[in-house]
């Protein structure tokens, strides 16, 4: 059984029909990517899974348990954690406090400390800056912090929304290497990216979204070879 199942989901912003019967699945240990143009519904999909938006129809299940009517903070407690678009670190909290907020659902303070140490092993830069306000970090460091913060909740499924957005190319490589590494360590990841080229290189499978619908789904490898994907999203003639 898939760890995360999205089934025939319809989400609206007021009268705007943003997701039109979207379905997808993520298996344990996979990286699955959603690619598509601006406004295709990628972020909407993640926010619907996270419970920030409520679907009018359809079901979202985590290992068979229905998440559709559960509030966002309880979805986090069940193990679906999102790194939002634009990083959204708490600028006026220190690096350490941001990580503590990521572990908000964790009651055991010893586990919180262990989690912080794990994040610092993954991102040594954050350790140097642990008492600094997050707002003073560079874009790349903020992305590390945002990912580290999400890892603090010990996610079963990690939702990443545009992790490479606004970063210098060298940082983009390092972020994707980190995603790959997290996955090698066993993390299940649903990745939304504008940078389809990079995303399809590390993804096991991918879905192509257009105006709120899945128009194509295949393995990462096959999508990279696909004529339509090459033209529309990889910029290859």
């Amino acid at each position: 059984m898939a760890i995360l199942e999205v089934e025939n989901v319809h989400t609206y912003y007021g009268h705007i029909h943003a997701l039109k019967g979207l379905s997808l699945t993520v298996e344990q240990g996979e990286i699955v990517t959603l690619i598509g143009a601006n406004g295709a519904g990628k972020t909407t999909t993640l926010n619907t899974i996270s419970g920030l938006l409520r679907p009018r129809e359809g079901r979202i299940r985590l290992r068979g348990e229905d998440l559709t009517t559960i509030p966002p903070h309880e979805i986090v407690a069940r193990g679906v954690v999102q790194v939002p678009e634009g990083r959204r670190v708490f600028a006026r909290l220190t690096v350490q406090e941001n990580l503590e907020m990521g572990a908000y659902v964790q009651k055991d303070s010893r586990r919180v400390r262990e989690g912080i140490e794990r994040v610092f092993t993954l991102f040594p830069r954050l350790k140097e800056r642990r008492q600094q306000l997050a707002g003073t970090l560079s874009g790349g460091e903020q992305q590390m912090l945002a990912m580290g913060r999400a890892l603090m909740a010990q996610p079963k499924v990690l939702l990443l929304d545009e992790p490479s957005m606004g970063l210098a190319p060298v940082l983009v490589d390092s972020i994707f290497a980190t995603i790959k590494r997290l996955n090698d360590d066993g993390a299940t990841i649903l990745l939304v990216e504008q940078n389809a080229r990079m995303a399809l290189q590390i993804a096991h499978r991918g879905y192509v979204l257009q105006t709120g619908e899945v128009v194509l789904s295949d393995t990462g490898e096959n999508l990279r070879q696909n004529e339509m994907v090459r033209k529309a999203y990889l910029g290859i003639q």
Binding site: L52, V76, P84, R88, F90, A91, Y104
Partner: protein, 355 residues
């Protein structure tokens, strides 16, 4: 960018008006102060009395202002019912205080009794604040910003007239605590005991609150929610619970402030929350609304300024009843701050995201 002549004229006249306003205010303060100091009408003990009273009064404003500023920080909403939350605390504690006085407990164990009175005030204020949040604000959380503001004004009137209906429009005399009567002498300066105790109690409460906000898990969550509610929810923070906690903490501070106010002025009345509420709101704006140290500073500043102001610069200008202008001074301050530093003393510039 192209600006027409009329637009320039308008800009200039606004600038001229603002500068005129600045100059007039500064002249009044400077001339008044100089005349007073030359006249030597008050001796140093009297000046100290003004300042000490100002500090006591100001620390009460500061305690109330915390509630305004914390709720604003989290919901970007002015809780106009907060003055009534303060009144509810003082009023409820009155009944306990007079019962304790009649039984003689207040005179036998004044400290225990005072703590008891404060706990009752905190409980009453918190209970009423949570009720108001649940009934009048939470259902309107997604509504345009004007809507909860109107609801807050409604809640404010509702509480005032509920207390008036239940207990009448009269003034109830607060029991006198013998322990707080008289003066203490420090280094040859006489200071009213009540004012010392009020100031110390208020400062302790503020330190406690500041520690909660800066050090505890729920305090950090409050700061996280005030920055970004959606992301806080994505981190597993129960945003509604954090909002409720914010209201509860602010209300507990207002409850204590209510008792302290009653200790200084020795009376309660259904309308007593209105003016201190507005003054505390002014303090919050003075300090930079949303900023906790700012609210404390703003409260103290306003308290001292309005206590000192009439004697310092109004009396010598030949104003007949300068002490009646206390409130006018407070609100002139508000207008001045709004004109010249809209973000307050410690406030940051409002960015487009926050405004």
């Amino acid at each position: 960018m192209y600006t027409s002549l009329t637009e320039k004229l308008i800009d200039w006249s606004i600038a001229l008006y603002l500068w005129g306003f600045r100059i007039i205010v500064v002249l009044i303060v400077v001339i008044g102060t100089v005349l007073t100091l030359i006249g030597g009408k008050y001796n140093s003990q009297q000046w100290i009395d003004f300042v000490v009273f100002g500090i006591a009064q100001g620390s009460i404003y500061a305690l109330i202002a915390l509630g305004y500023t914390m709720v604003y920080g989290i919901l970007r909403m002015i809780n106009f019912a907060h003055g009534e939350i303060f009144m509810s605390g003082a009023f409820s504690a009155y009944f306990v205080a007079s019962a304790l006085e009649q039984s003689g407990f207040l005179d036998q164990n004044p400290l225990v009794a005072l703590v008891l009175i404060m706990l009752v005030a905190m409980a009453a204020s918190t209970g009423i604040a949570l009720l108001v949040e649940r009934v009048a604000y939470r259902p309107l959380r997604q509504a345009p910003r004007l809507v909860p503001l109107i609801s807050a004004i409604g809640a404010s009137f509702f509480l005032q007239y509920t207390f008036r209906g239940l207990f009448g429009p009269g003034v109830y005399a607060y029991p006198v605590v013998e322990l707080l009567q008289g003066e203490w002498t420090f280094f040859g300066i006489n200071i009213l005991k009540a004012q010392v105790v009020v100031t110390i109690a208020a400062v302790l409460m503020m330190l406690g609150l500041y520690t909660i906000v800066m050090r505890t898990k729920i305090g950090k969550a409050m700061r996280a929610v005030s920055e970004d509610k959606a992301t806080a929810a994505l981190m597993g923070i129960n945003v509604d619970r954090v909002i409720v906690t914010t209201f509860a903490l602010g209300a507990a501070m207002a409850g204590v402030a209510g008792v302290l106010y009653a200790l200084v002025f020795r009376q309660v009345n259904f309308f007593m929350g209105f003016v201190p509420g507005i003054k505390a709101f002014t303090s919050a704006v003075l300090g930079g609304v949303g900023n906790i140290p700012g609210a404390m500073l703003g409260g103290l500043f306003l308290g001292i300024f309005e206590s000192l102001g009439p004697a310092l610069f109004l009396e010598s200008l030949g104003i007949v009843a300068p002490y009646q202008l206390k409130d006018a001074i407070a609100f002139t301050m508000l207008v001045l701050v709004l004109i010249f530093r809209p973000s307050g003393i410690l406030g940051e510039k409002l960015t487009a995201k926050k405004a």
